[in-house]
Amino acid sequence: MSTLTQNYYSNIHPKRFVLWLFLGSIVMLFAGLTSAYIVRRGQGNWVEYILPDIFWASTVLILLSSITLHMAYVFHRDHKAKKYRMALGATVALGLAFVAAQYSGWMQLTDLGVRLQGNPSGAFLYVISGVHAAHLLGGVALLLIFFFKSIRRKEPVKRLMEEIDPERTLGVELLLTYWHFVGLLWLYLFIFFLYFG
């Protein structure tokens, strides 16, 4: 992608800035959903339930994945291609494990009788955590792109060029920001559900 960029006024890269703004709009999406939750909860007729313990496990998984991706970023910076690739792979695995844990949490809730089609207290949990999982899967798709790009074998010079390509470095940095954000978002949602559940 050729970007017509020049003489920036500030020292922040426009793409990084666009990402931050995008994160702001995601915050507003979830602010909308969670404030709908609070408003609706305040109106009464609200079925309460206990959050299954598996959501603690998924919280640990997503926090671990943030650590592995941060490691990938460090390995990429230090030109340790193999370790970089492995850390990316670990992040993908942890991300998918998180979604699996969420899914199993939803199934446990359904078994408890908390259904999507029922009192909105349960439906809100499914929709909000589902929309969050969709954001996480978007991140997984991006991780996979970086993962497959990192295993392409080429002649050493080209490989080196790729490794020090500023576009890729920027990409890894932006992905890291997004991934941390999605992790923090879950942490917020988890505490929110624990507190207002």
Partner: protein, 615 residues
């Protein structure tokens, strides 16, 4: 993505583009269709917007036929619409579909995408001195998602059950249950899908506009040297980025209610005496229809400022340029826009005074609503004082700008009535509301759009200009005609005539206004046909319009877009981007007619010595 060969270096703070050539090979596809040039994307937004405006206004003419002549039949309607107008009379179902589509199309496709999509794209890079947007690729996608939203909405016009018909606000349960209304079946699904695409488009656009304004200004272009247009586009984008996601969250919950049997908005629904059940056979309960109203209006109210702020910005620019005077109160203007942006998020519930809200909560929203009148009034004052004792050049753009100020005052004053809960409760859902928001938001923003098109047409279409005589005719018919449409509606509304009624002949209280409705409809039809003066002028001038004078600065403006070539290529300036040395409103200063932003003090001294003045 590799279609352009202007590869500028991504290094921060470096300026390496002097040696780049701009005449590169472009195919029809890369130049006109998959273009990443912000100017081409602006044209795409504008022409798509004009197309939608034609459809949206045509729809209003169709339902005005029903309201103006409820007892007549128009065989032509049956020819055109088939089963929707059997016997030459609109079916009630289709009447509601037309009203809904008119609102949706005008608010989102015309006055959001067509207005801020066009002019943010065109003017942000040109007026701040940037070669393009922060991400031209995302900018291109923004247009393509808008087009996709439009195509989905257009498809919904042609399906058997018809388009969404529950009002542009799409309140559940009407919009949530297919049983309630034909339009709430497939039409509503497509409406939601289209709006989702539209939110994506407007987010992509908005992110780009903000990043571009904050990061890509040329040397010397400090924030407080930016033209008011840029300030307005900037805060418009901020509003959009923060409020559209909330609409999306409301739409997501509505989609779940419609398709997956949840009950976020639904509770205790009985249809034909039967209780409504979900897939599991249980009664649907526990939802709150008011919840949707909160989520909708949290976007919905900032949305009216998304519509009006770009128009305000352009009007400020056009008025200052054509009164040959500095804008009055530049900083006050900027802080007013800022204040409007902030308060815009705190007034949404004034649309919901009759929803059974706690009167104390209501009074808080009354307070903020009246508060927002202050920055609005400051802006009006500043426009008038800018015009005051100016050497006004009555170009078409000036006329439309003055028209804007007039409409904004007329419509704004009735906003004070409606913002008070005590007055809003009797006036709610009457024609008084229709009159208010059409004048202050619809017409005023439309006039801003026209002012922008007439003023910046040379920058949109290769240095050509629109015909001024046709433009002036267009203005006067539209201006007078519009007041004839909406002024009488105040009287209808004050006597309690409700909006959204198919006909009034069965209501003795209201059917005595048949003559007034006929007058309104006649004016609407006249104004509709007057728009062809604009359309003809617009499309004719693209290829045949007079070229702007050799100074390349037809209105003798100070801003940077007038320093670009007659037909700027992708990258806008040949060679180095000019630097900026002053604010954009140096008109009639020290004997100079006007001083462009790019003229430094040394150059100015040289000019004074050689006695060559700019005017």
């Amino acid at each position: 993505m590799a279609s352009t060969d202007i590869h500028l270096h991504d290094q921060l703070g470096h300026d390496h583009h002097d040696d780049h050539h701009h005449d590169h090979h472009e195919t029809f596809l890369t130049k006109y269709i998959f273009s990443q040039d912000h100017k081409m994307i602006a044209r795409q937004f504008l022409i798509t917007g004009i197309l939608w405006a034609f459809i949206g206004v045509l729809f209003s003419v169709l339902f005005r036929l029903q309201l103006g002549w409820p007892n007549e039949t128009f065989p032509i309607l049956e020819t055109l619409l088939g089963a929707w107008a059997e016997g030459g009379k609109l079916s009630p179902q289709f009447y509601y579909a037309l009203v809904t589509m008119h609102g949706t199309i005008m608010v989102f496709f015309v006055l959001t995408a067509g207005l801020s999509g066009t002019f943010s794209n065109l003017l942000i890079p040109l007026q701040i001195g940037a070669r393009d947007m922060a991400s031209p690729f995302i900018n291109m996608l923004s247009y393509w998602f808008f087009l996709l939203a439009g195509i989905i909405m257009a498809i919904s016009l042609f399906i058997q059950t018809g388009p969404a018909a529950g009002g542009w606000t799409a309140y559940p349960p009407l919009s949530a249950l297919g049983q309630s209304n034909l339009g709430s079946q497939l039409g509503m699904t497509l409406w939601l899908l289209s709006m989702t695409m539209f939110v994506v488009s407007s987010l992509m656009g908005g992110l780009n506009y903000i990043a571009t304004v904050l990061n890509m200004r040329t040397k010397g272009m400090t924030m407080f040297r930016m033209p008011l247009t840029i300030w307005a586009f900037f805060f418009t984008a901020v509003l959009g980025v923060l409020s559209f996601p909330v609409l999306l969250s409301g739409c997501i919950l509505l989609m779940f209610d419609r398709s997956l049997g949840t009950s976020f908005y639904l509770s205790d629904i009985y249809i034909g005496g039967e209780v409504l059940t979900n897939g599991a056979g249980q009664m649907i309960e526990g939802g709150s229809a008011i919840l949707f109203q909160h989520l909708f209006w949290f976007l919905g109210h900032p949305e009216v400022y998304i519509v009006i702020l770009p128009a305000m910005g352009m009007v400020s620019e056009v008025l200052a340029t054509n009164s040959r005077k500095p804008i009055f109160g530049y900083h006050a203007m900027v802080y007013s826009i800022m204040a409007i942006t902030i308060i815009a998020f705190l007034v949404w519930a004034h649309h919901m005074f009759i929803s059974g809200m706690n009167p104390f909560v209501g009074s808080i929203f009354v307070f903020f609503t009246l508060l927002i009148a202050i920055p609005s009034a400051i802006k009006v004052f500043n426009w008038i004082t800018t015009l005051w004792r100016g050497s006004i050049r009555f170009t078409t753009a000036t006329l439309f700008s003055i028209g804007f100020v007039s409409l904004f005052i007329s419509g704004g004053l009735t906003g004070l009535f409606l913002g008070n809960a005590a007055l809003d409760i009797p006036l709610h859902d009457t024609y008084f509301v229709i009159a208010h928001f059409h004048i202050v938001m619809g017409l005023a923003a439309g006039f801003g759009l026209f002012a922008g098109v007439y003023h910046w047409y040379p920058k949109l279409f290769n240095g050509r200009m629109m015909n001024e005589s046709l433009g002036v005719m267009h203005f006067w018919i539209t201006f007078i005609g519009s007041y004839f449409i909406f002024w009488p509606m105040h009287y209808l509304g004050m006597t309690g005539v409700p909006r959204r009624y198919y006909e009034f002949s069965q209501f003795e209280t209201f059917n005595k206004y048949d003559d007034l409705n006929m007058l309104i409809s006649t004016a609407a039809i006249l104004v509709f046909f007057a728009q062809f003066l604009f359309v003809i002028n617009f499309f004719y001038s693209i290829t045949k319009g007079k070229r702007m004078p050799a100074s390349l600065n037809p209105w003798q403006g100070t801003t940077m877009e007038w320093t670009t070539p007659m037909e700027p290529g992708h990258g806008n300036w040949v060679g180095k981007i000019p630097e900026v040395y002053r604010w954009p409103y140096d008109y009639e200063v020290d004997g100079h007619g006007f001083i462009p932003q790019t003229v430094s003090d040394e150059q100015l001294k040289q000019l004074s010595k050689t006695n060559v003045h700019h005017s």
